[in-house]
Amino acid sequence: MKYLMLVCTDPDLKPGEDEGAPDVEDWVTEMDAKGIRIMGERTRPADDATTVRVRNREVLLTDGPHAETKDLMVGFDVLECADLDEAIAVASKHPMAWGGAIELRPFWPFEG
């Protein structure tokens, strides 16, 4: 089962709430070694985003993020896990779960 792990910041975080957060390098090393993390990257901030829409066959571009995602997303990983419980356990070990928020989106499986 594949999950997209959206790594987000949390503007409401209070100082000290993320105390004891694990190190991201350790997380990457561990999850790569276990074959759980298939890939992942940091992304540039919302300022550098371009939103693409095609309406009536015309390509419409917006400078900035799609409204709903705001400027929260700062990176992503793709996970291969047995089930949601494993994905939750993996996400809870990521430092951004401590200082931000992580959204898990199951992949829509290929229905051949």
């Binding site: 089962m1 896990c81 047995a82 089930d83 949601l84 419980d85 939750i88 898990l104 199951p106 829509w108």
Partner: protein
């Protein structure tokens, strides 16, 4: 004869429904809809066949085997239909017969933990628990929660879809995850109990909550909080017959006719609680049950051991602090040490802004003000409480209390 068979089937349905649904979820690899449909088919077949053919020796085995065969039929039919569109590999599922009831695995615990998975919202957890563990129909559940059948159907549909799409596992969490996951199950059961407790029309929810908690206790004999929860429900439930008068008006604990309390249920609750406490792994539900036991054991209201109840609330505030606990503790302090001691505690909650919409907070404030003779302020707080409550019975009760703050014609307080 036919009536007797129907009663017998209804009796098997009470526990059998969830056993069969759980077995079928496993068998279908997590297809909850197919599991429910085939369980329904099996009971429908029993209603059709048993009155003439007789009741099988092993009814649960018969029903589960029938459900399995129906599921296989449905899968075959679906794959034949799909095959006309594309070359699908035929799904090989052999109908398998259970010959004894004892062969059927009991996966109700797996079912409970999956229904109460914290990645589902609470409303969905509650709805799914009722549908798959009690066999209440979507329409019955919708009525219990005052929403349309369509809304409830959607809620169940979305929950089942998320379980499938997000791959929520069908299992009891491993031991290390239980401290996080068991409270979610207990929470849902307690919410069901409370939902049914406050409303005579919803008694069914109470009964189902107690029945499911009995199952949980039986399947998790080493979890003192599951025992504590059952004790709490039994001790509270024992007071039900005394809670409302003939007009449906609420009677406070203080004024209840204790002869109406169900003594068998109290005795059972106390026995279960004592056994749980002896394990020395205290939790919030055991403490709440201990508080309920203090009330249950007092022969009349004045002999209630309020100082002991204050101590129990102190303990509860340590392990599970929240504004409701603070409020209940303040009530106990008011009884143990007098209203003057409790007033500042309640006023601190009001100042914090917590529970601002909770009528009990304002009613408690009003009671304390009345007891210290500040009648005008008391009346004001009763009015705030009346405006905040949504229950007619509570509103009538509070209006009667409000009347006590008005000077009597003879001028006596």
């Amino acid at each position: 004869m036919a009536d007797q068979v129907n009663d017998l089937i209804a009796g098997i349905y009470v526990d059998g429904w969830s056993r069969i649904v759980a077995t079928m979820i496993r068998f279908t690899g997590g297809d909850w809809d197919l599991a429910e449909e085939s369980a329904q088919d099996a009971f429908a077949a029993a209603l059709r066949k048993w009155p003439t053919a007789g009741v099988p020796d092993q009814p649960l085995a018969w029903l589960t085997t029938t459900a399995r065969n129906r599921a296989v039929d449905r899968i075959r039919r679906a794959s034949t239909e799909a095959a006309s569109l594309r070359k699908a590999t035929a799904i090989e599922v052999e109908p398998l017969a259970y010959s004894r009831d004892s062969e059927i695995p009991d996966e109700r615990l797996e079912l409970m933990f999956t229904c109460c998975h914290p990645s589902l919202n609470l409303e969905a957890q509650v709805a799914l628990t009722l549908r798959s563990l009690t066999g209440m129909s979507t329409a019955e559940i919708a009525r219990a929660f005052l929403v349309s059948e369509r809304t409830m159907g959607q809620r169940l549909f979305r929950a089942k879809r998320k379980i499938a799409h997000a791959a929520i596992p069908f299992r009891v969490p491993p031991a290390h995850a239980l401290p996080e996951r068991l409270p979610a199950v207990l929470h849902v059961l307690y919410l069901l109990f409370n939902e049914g407790y406050g409303d005579a029309a919803k008694t069914r929810l109470c009964e189902e909550a107690v029945r499911l908690t009995r199952v949980l206790k039986q399947l998790m004999p080493d979890e003192p909080e599951a025992h504590g929860m059952l004790a709490l429900m039994l001790l509270h439930g024992a007071r039900r017959p005394a809670r409302v008068d003939a007009n449906g008006d609420l009677i406070t604990l203080e004024d209840q006719d204790r002869a109406l309390w169900n003594q068998d249920q109290i005795a059972e609750g106390i026995t279960i609680l004592d056994a749980a406490l002896s394990r020395r792994a205290v939790g919030p539900f055991q403490i709440q049950a201990a508080i309920a036991a203090c009330h249950a054991l007092a022969p009349d209201a004045p002999s209630t051991d309020w100082p002991q109840i204050v101590k129990l609330y102190d303990q509860l505030a340590l392990i599970a602090p929240n504004a409701i606990v603070t409020l209940n503790r303040a009530v106990a302090v008011g009884m143990a040490s007098g209203p003057e001691a409790a007033l500042p505690l309640v006023e601190a909650i009001i100042k914090s802004g917590d529970l601002a919409d909770y009528h009990v907070l304002h009613a408690t404030h009003a009671d304390l003000l009345r007891r210290v003779g500040r009648l005008q302020e008391s009346a004001e707080s009763y009015r705030t409480a009346i405006a905040a409550t949504t229950s007619d019975a509570e509103r009538r009760f509070l209006r009667n209390r409000l009347a006590l703050t008005e000077p009597s014609p003879r001028g006596a307080a």
